[in-house]
Symmetry: C2
Subunit: 163 residues, 2 copies
Amino acid sequence: MTTLNSVEFNYIGIIHTPFTTLDDMPIQPGGASGVSGTLVLDPGLEEGLVDLDGFSHIYVIFHLHKTHPYRLTVTPFLDTNAHGLFATRAPSRPNPIGLSIVRLIAVNANILSIENVDMLDGTPVLDIKPYVPFFDEQKTVRIGWLTGLKDRAMTIRTDGRFK
Amino acid sequence: MTTLNSVEFNYIGIIHTPFTTLDDMPIQPGGASGVSGTLVLDPGLEEGLVDLDGFSHIYVIFHLHKTHPYRLTVTPFLDTNAHGLFATRAPSRPNPIGLSIVRLIAVNANILSIENVDMLDGTPVLDIKPYVPFFDEQKTVRIGWLTGLKDRAMTIRTDGRFK
C-alpha cells in the first residue's frame, strides 16, 4: 500500500448493557436474545433520530474499545482450528470496529432502548443505521468454517480468548 | 455527553470500482448487482485472509471519504419526505462509515475480487467481516418509511443529493 492513511471518528454515544466485564458475555446478538440495554446518543444529535422508531432493528457500529493487540491468525470461540482474522468476527482487529444488529424497542429523546445487546457496558458508539432486509439479506450463502456451528454460536459465552 | 472521545483508524486497504465520480452510482449493493470490483488489502495483512474464501459474502466497512458535512435532517433518494439522519443510510453522517455486503468471488494473495460493489473507486477500507446469516438475519422486521420502496431502491442512482 503506497498511501495508507487514517481517519479519526468522534464517539456519538455510549451503550449501557448488563455486561461489565469481558467474562461471560454473549459473542453475538443471537446469543444475547432478550438482553436489554440502552444507547445514549449525544444530545446534540437527537434530531437525527426522527423516524428511527419506525424500524424494528438497527445496526450499531461501535468501537471495540477493550480489545487487545490483534493477531492475523486466530482460533475463534466456535472452533478449535485456526483461521485468518478476517474470516472471523474476533474483536481484536487492525481496526476494532464492532457491528451488531439489535432490536429497537423505543426512542425517548436521545435515549434508545435496545434488545439483544452483546456489547460491553460503556461501549462507544460510532454510527447507527436502519436495518433493511432488502438492502442486506443475501440469498444463496456459503459460510465456510462456520457451517454447522449455528447452535454453538447461539449459546457460547466469552472466555479468556475474547481479546 | 460528558466524556466524548475519539478513535483513529488506519486504512487497511482500498476498493477499486467502475464508479469514479459521485454521479450515476448505485446507492446500495442491491442496485449494483453484478458490478465487479477489487479490494486490495495492505499486503502486510494478507495472512488474515486465510479461509475467507469459504464465505460467499462479506461485510466491507469503509470510510465514505468523499462526503459533505452532515445535516441531522435529510431527504433521502428514496423519498420526498425528510427523515432523521440515523433513520437513513445517507452517506454524510457524523462518522461517515459505510457498510456494504458484497459477494466474494475469489481471494488471490492480498486481492479480493468482489461483486455488487456500490462504492466510489478509491474508497478506503476499515474492516472486513464474514457475512453469516444466522448471526445477522432478523425475522419479523419493520422498516418504517422504507416500507414499499424496495423496487426504487434497487434501481435508483445517485444524483446531486449524494453528499
